[in-house]
Amino acid sequence: MRENKKSFLIINRKAPYGSSAARDALDVALTFSVFEQPLSLLFMDDAVLQLLPNHQANTIGQKNLSANLAMLEMYDIDQLYVCRQALSERGIRPDQISLNITLLDTHAIAALIKQQDQVLSF
């Protein structure tokens, strides 16, 4: 399917654990690696809360999302974009995030979306 290469973006907008959206999005991202398609992830709005460290989701009978997030790098999914405004509205400092991310202001977010072939939202 090499002739069909398209750029994909997954937009994450939800907090983890309260709904299945965060995990659903990550499961799709990890599936993409099998297809060797160009993939970017964008964390906007409450999805930046997924990036806080030290989750202990076993206290609520769930699995840590952090483990899945850490797998992104192993699967060579390294285009991770984070909305700067969403971080600052929640008082999260970029140095609290252990993943290798790129901060984007709102203009850069519009530009990122503009250049994609397909976008999936969660």
């Binding site: 906007m44 709102t106 519009a110 939202s121």
Partner: protein, 98 residues
């Protein structure tokens, strides 16, 4: 590449509308469906004040009529599902906000 942004939530039930407006580029279009059509109430017009004249605004009339929104906001062009499909073709991709 241009984008059709589809929003299906009210301004109060989700930040979908707010986030979509951040993500919009000149030449894109915006389509309100389901509960999203309530954003055409004149009281919400300030949400759209940032938009340039180069972003077309549409609403799905099926959803507006269902909800008793008959005095349509003049800034939004009413379309049916066929129009929704045509817009999906005219713009290079569709991004959903919910």
């Amino acid at each position: 590449m241009t984008t059709l942004h589809v929003i299906n939530k009210t301004p109060s039930e989700s930040s979908a509308l707010r986030d979509s407006l951040i993500a919009m580029s000149d030449g894109d279009a915006l389509l309100l469906i389901e509960n999203g059509v309530y954003a055409t109430l004149p009281a919400y017009s300030e949400h759209f004040s940032r938009l340039t004249a180069n972003v077309q605004c549409y609403l799905l009339t099926d959803d507006a009529q269902a909800r008793g929104l008959n005095d349509l906001n003049q800034d939004f062009c009413g379309i049916d599902y066929d129009g929704f499909v045509e817009l999906s073709c005219r713009y290079s991709k569709v991004v959903s906000w919910f």
